[in-house]
């Protein structure tokens, strides 16, 4: 424990500082702070889920730039599944299922057919854009809403409880849970050890008796369900409609979050929150008024901040070494 603290003291120090600052802000500006934290998390939810998709994929050695497309397809399927069936459950299943199928498509083309992973992702994105706009029918509505869940006890915590554990839909809770679970799984379970090995050095995993292809196939496919949830969140939770291009580049932002988070789930969660918070700040600058900065410029704040933070602080982080490369056995 002590060694762990020693090793991570910079991270811990910064984390503590940020937390203290957050609480100071929370109590000092109580009129706007809670809503800003709420907005930050609201913005971050789909990014967290989508970034996890990227993390799982790349940790297994498969670059996934098709997250945008996966989300779009799932948002589409979820919304129309629910609208046509009249059941939210059916919609959710359709969305998650579509995420899985899209993940399976990426997995199969890249792992089995060894298609270039970037190309496969781009294909997925274009297919999703094409199909979801080509077959879009306007004027459908959802039969219900995804219920909000309050977590007893946790919701009482000032700031944190309010932001994460009350008045949030089930998907938001799943996002937190998923980040924690994927983190623990990745670094503390057999599956995680094998997944990381496959993403770092697949031939080592292969010679240790691990079926590289199968693990990659399974991981990339299953991660699709998280992309499905992220998509569902957009069309069935955050808004109650499906629109063309509703993902609005969030799948790509998620990739940036993944890299900012150094391919670690919990760090990606934090980075998504950071990004969401700067977004909230940008909006708040407009809402509060009195600043003479045009909204087009304040709107760029999150992106500028990301670049500045990365340039100043993050430095080089190494991604999984084998990400992007199909694993070719010796005699193939």
């Amino acid at each position: 424990m002590a060694a762990w603290v020693q090793k991570n003291r910079t991270t811990l120090g910064i984390g503590l500082g940020v937390l203290v600052a957050a609480y100071v802000f929370y109590y000092a500006k109580h009129d706007i702070a809670p809503s800003m934290f709420g907005a930050a998390w609201g913005y971050a939810i789909p990014l967290v889920l989508a970034a996890l998709v990227g993390v799982i994929g790349e940790r297994s050695g498969v670059v996934n730039i098709g997250i945008e497309g996966q989300m779009l397809l799932a948002a589409f399927a979820g919304f129309f599944g629910a609208a046509y069936s009249g059941s939210m459950i059916v919609g959710i299943l359709a969305g998650v299922g579509t995420g899985l199928i899209a993940g399976g498509f990426l997995a199969w083309t890249t792992v089995r057919w060894r298609m270039d992973q970037i190309i496969a992702g781009v294909v997925l994105n274009i297919i999703a854009t094409g199909i979801t706009s080509f077959y879009l029918k306007s004027g459908e509505i959802l039969p219900g809403v995804i219920p909000n869940v309050d977590v007893p006890l946790l919701k009482e915590i000032p700031l944190i409880g309010e932001t994460f554990f009350s008045g949030r839909s089930a998907i938001a809770l799943v996002a937190i849970l998923a980040a924690v679970v994927v983190h623990l799984a990745l670094f503390h379970t057999r599956w995680g050890l094998r997944t990381r090995a496959v993403g770092e050095y697949p031939s080592a995993a292969d010679t240790a008796g691990i079926n590289v292809e199968r693990l990659r196939l399974v991981n990339v496919t299953l991660a699709g369900s998280l992309a499905g949830l992220a998509g569902l969140y957009l069309s069935m939770d955050a808004s109650a409609s499906f629109e063309r291009g509703i993902t609005a580049g969030r799948g790509f932002l998620a990739l940036a979050i993944m890299i900012m988070g150094a391919w670690r789930p919990l760090r990606a969660l934090v980075m998504a929150l950071f990004f969401g918070f700067i977004n909230a700040v940008a909006s708040q600058l407009q809402l509060t008024g009195g600043f003479d900065v045009p909204p087009q410029l304040t709107g760029t704040l999150p992106y500028v901040a990301t670049l500045v933070v990365l340039a100043v602080a993050a430095g080089r982080v190494r991604g999984p070494a084998a990400a992007g490369q199909p694993y070719v056995k010796k005699d193939q």
Binding site: S35, A39, I141, A238, S239, I246
Partner: protein
């Protein structure tokens, strides 16, 4: 080819579409005087956008039915295709071409010059009389500020928290006019009211980002707003839906739609939607097409109507005196006795 000139393999169709019985079934004879053809070109939007493209589309479709005409549209994909897309219609000698959106102003004026036999209706387009001298073109404009003013006035009277919010699309004139009108109306009704305003920053999805709109509405509600004006295509619709989902929707929290009566186009917003700041594009387009068929346009600029749409289920919930005051204000604006004072 085996598909015939339109390539339709569906064979002989039961006409539920745009053409009424007795109307032409294709556009091969548009050049004939007795065959009336209407075309519509969107500005990189779709005709099902629940907003102005859709309204214009419906207006043109209605005109075709009423006038026994033929109607087709093209959804522009790329701003550089405006001219080519209009040309599709002028090549076939369509009688009227409706272009939707103020971004097409210049392109429409140029097309009107090039095709004097076709009449052009530019929705939301204001032409510079010193440059455009053609008679076959009219810009159909609406006093968005008046619609916004009316909505703001209603909101100013209804708010309990004295805090209103606006979730807006891109910061461009039609949107700004709504927004500034709304703020002016609200202040006129209730001087102590505060209006929080947020525009979508930028990007090609500014009118198509309901998730962002919903997030903004949520923030504004948390910061005390009890009535949200969502004006920005699907982005604004996202805000309406968010209010509709929030606790107290329809009781203590309300939303106001834009452009069309969103009671119909965004049913999900019904729990909170007290009214919409409407510009009657559908009616305006139908009327202007009818004028075009009958003869000449009234002028380079045609002024459409704007106002508040029906209160629907909230008719009973809105206090009678509020309704009277709002109706009065709307009347004054129509009569021209009340100016919104909005300038850009």
């Amino acid at each position: 080819g085996c598909g015939g000139s339109t390539g339709n393999t569906g064979g002989d169709s039961t006409d539920t579409g745009s053409a009424a019985a007795g109307a032409p079934t294709d556009d091969s004879k548009c050049a004939d005087a007795e065959v009336f053809c209407i075309g519509l070109v969107t500005d990189t939007g779709k005709v099902d956008d629940k907003s102005f493209n859709q309204s214009a589309h419906e207006g043109a479709k209605a005109a075709a039915e009423q006038l026994q005409g033929y109607y087709k549209y093209i959804e522009t994909q790329d701003a550089k295709d405006y001219a080519a897309n209009m040309q599709q219609f002028t090549n076939k000698k369509y009688d009227v071409v409706v272009t939707v959106g103020f971004l097409m102003t210049d392109a429409t004026a140029a097309a009107a010059k090039a095709s004097p036999d076709t009449k052009f209706i530019g929705v939301d387009q204001g032409y510079d009389a010193t440059k455009v001298t053609e008679k076959n073109i009219t810009g159909l404009v609406f006093p968005e500020d008046q619609a916004g003013y009316g909505a703001g006035y209603l909101a100013g009277l209804m708010t309990k928290t004295n805090q209103l919010g606006q979730v807006l699309g891109l910061e461009i004139p039609p949107v700004q006019k709504y927004a500034k009108g709304f703020e002016a109306g609200a202040k006129a009704a209730n001087p102590s009211v505060k209006v929080a305003t947020v525009y979508h920053p930028a990007g090609d999805n500014a009118f198509n980002d309901p998730v962002w709109g919903a997030g903004q509405a949520k923030t504004q509600i948390q910061q005390g707003a009890d009535i949200i004006f969502g004006a920005g295509g699907n982005t604004g619709n996202g805000a309406l839906q968010e209010v509709a989902k929030s606790s107290g929707a329809g009781e203590s929290k309300f939303c106001i739609g834009v452009d069309t009566d969103q009671w119909d186009t965004v049913p999900a917003a019904q729990p909170c939607l007290i009214t919409s700041a409407e510009k009657l594009i559908t009616k305006g387009v139908t009327d202007t097409i009818t004028t075009a068929k009958d003869g000449a346009f009234e002028g380079l600029q045609t002024l459409g109507q704007a106002g508040l749409s029906d209160f629907h289920d909230f008719d009973a919930k809105i206090p009678a005196d509020v309704k009277t005051k709002v109706a009065d204000i709307v009347k004054q604006m129509e009569a021209g006795t009340l100016k919104t004072g909005v300038t850009l």
